[in-house]
Amino acid sequence: MTVQSPPTRPAAVRSPHRPRRVPPAVWLIGPSILFMALLMGWPMVQGVLQAVQNEHGFTLDFIRQMVEDPYFWPAVRNTALLIVVMIPLQFGIAIGMALLLRSNPRLNKLHFFVWAIPLALSDLAAGLVWLSIFNDRGYLNSFLKGLGIDGVPWLAYDNQATLFFCVLIAEVWRSTSLVLVIVVAGLQGIPKDYDEAAQVFGATFWQRLRHVTLPLLKPSLQVALILRTILAFQTFAVAQALTGQNFPLVVGETYRWYTALQNPNVAAALALVILVASMLTSIFYLRALREKGQGGTR
């Protein structure tokens, strides 16, 4: 009897004619990587260099100039204050609205559409609309006058509280819809059964929100938080339209240094501040929301 040789495994045999191909993944992400590198990566590197380099080499002059400017610290303070007040307010409103939509009221598609409209609006246009409401002879003061109340100079330069209030209202109106859209999408991805199970097992509305809905919504909230905070650091056009330089914000300062003061180096230094702040908060959110979880498998 002859011993049969074991059958050769087809996988082990490489066809010599098989051409080496570029993996499809490279074709898919290649163009965007190239695009990002050319249009974002390179300018970013240039921007950083511009902030810390003059014709003689490395220097901290521009950063010193930025910090010593009388508008710098007010701008930092205003931006931070805006973020600290606006983000929780926005998330509260957006989650509330999303839960209202989930309860399936009549015309809920229409409500969602109307609530999402600000998303489609240019921020400068939004700022101008709110300017027509808040200026001394704007809609708000006319309305108050109609009620027999004296108008308030909402946007007066010496009234920082009302300036902040106006920018906050306008920004919340303009940008909450982004959070809403993300939260609504997230809620739609959570099967209703979890909420129903929690109801049957005796959970009240707040218990369900705290123990079931919000934890399951965490991935969406994380995305929305990072996006909104980064965008909030860049708040500019609305505040510019409403207050000019009376309520300075960091990006507004960048703009002023670049255009009015013709100093791109200090403008780049300010941009660097925003970049670093955005990166730090993103890392903070990613860490904070991960560690609270119950293990890493989800």
Binding site: Y194, V200, A203, T204, H211, Q294, T297, R298
Partner: protein, 360 residues
């Protein structure tokens, strides 16, 4: 633990033309295991969801233990439920999932720990208490859902097709386990299923539903043996009950099936000269290869050996009938065999209304 009394429940879903439940009334004794059985769309899940408070009826009322709960929100009803999808919270460990209801009720943590341990032992989940649901198999997740429901000391335990997502073997083993657990617990249970074998094996009483109404309510064996109408007979049993067109003779003492005569029970006297439908289960028809008195001939069309029996499809004067023969019975297509019908297993239905006939 409590009895349930459902009366005249009507529910129409917004946008739906038909009533999901159409004037349903049902009484469930304390500690009873009631199965709502029916094809999809018959209203059984709607009825269960109204019991849970996840839907509210348009009219009618539900009372549990004498308390009207019709429009009470779910969290105030003291019920627990096993969901078809399990609905085990994916972000929390098994331990937390089982104790969820107790924690919501602010039971002290020692007591929660003790009860969770008890339920985990009962359902063989102890080794998995510190795992996340994603790390469990489907069968284990199902056990978590059951454990979560039984720790609650609820008045009523609701189950919505809890076994339908398990594979066939697991379903069979878990079914008997579930029956024992619920029996020992003694809680009033309402169980929804479309699987007739689950209904017959689990229930103290079975409510067969069709188009939003209860077609028959009774002991599982009664429902099986004496279906109240053709729908119930056709829905329960595998193969379904045979329905054979027949006519009662002038004298009322014989039943004509095609050209054959069968001895008619005395209750048919009052239906002399009327067309009726004879209902008989496949396993209640006797078979023989040779003629003896009272038998009617049939031609074999299909022979399907099932292991424990042989399923025959036979033709009696143009009507096709399923017959369950003993496994040793040998026959082949085109052969003629003789069938015996015993009077106490024959059921009679009105051809027009499909309802069971009662002596006039």
């Amino acid at each position: 633990m409590a009895d349930i009394s459902i009366s005249h429940l009507v529910k129409t879903y917004p946008g739906g033309a038909d009533r999901a439940t159409d004037d349903v009334s049902l009484a469930i004794k304390d500690g009873d295991f009631t199965v709502l059985l029916g094809p999809s769309g018959c209203g059984k899940t709607t009825l269960l969801r109204m019991l849970a408070g996840l839907e509210y009826p348009d009219s009618g009322s539900i009372s549990v233990g004498g308390r009207d709960v019709t429009y009470l929100p779910p969290n105030k009803r003291n019920m627990s439920m096993v969901f078809q999808s399990y609905a085990v919270f994916p972000h929390r460990k098994v331990r937390y999932n089982i104790g969820f209801g107790l924690q919501m009720a602010k039971v002290n943590s020692k007591e929660i720990e003790r009860k969770v341990q008890w339920a985990a032992d009962l359902l063989q989940l102890t080794p998995y208490l510190d795992r996340l649901p994603a790390q469990l198999s489907g069968g284990q997740r199902q056990r978590v859902a059951v454990a979560r429901a039984i720790v609650m000391d609820a008045d009523v335990l609701l189950m919505d097709e809890p076994l339908s997502n398990l594979d066939a073997l697991l379903r069979l083993t878990f079914r008997s386990e579930l029956k024992k657990i619920v029996k020992d617990l003694g809680t009033t249970t309402v169980y929804v299923t479309h699987d007739q074998s689950e209904a017959l094996s689990l229930g103290d009483q079975v409510a067969v539903m069709r188009k939003g109404r209860i077609a028959q309510l009774g002991d599982p064996l009664d429902v099986y043996d004496a279906p109240a109408d053709k729908f119930v007979g056709g829905f329960i049993g595998s193969p379904p009950m045979n329905f054979i067109s027949a006519a009662v003779t002038d004298s009322g003492d014989a039943l004509r099936v095609g050209d054959q005569n069968l001895h008619a029970p005395s209750m048919l006297r009052s239906f002399a000269n009327e067309d009726i439908v004879l209902g008989v289960r496949a396993e209640n028809i006797g078979v023989a290869t040779d003629r003896s008195s009272g038998d009617i001939p049939a031609t074999v069309l299909v022979v399907e050996p099932m292991g424990s029996s042989v399923l025959l499809t036979v033709d009696v004067d143009g009507q096709s009938i399923k017959v369950q023969a003993p496994p040793t019975f040998r026959t082949s297509p085109h052969q003629t065999i003789w069938l015996t019908f015993s009077p106490n297993t024959m059921r009679f239905y009105d051809g027009a209304t499909s309802m069971a006939l009662e002596a006039k």
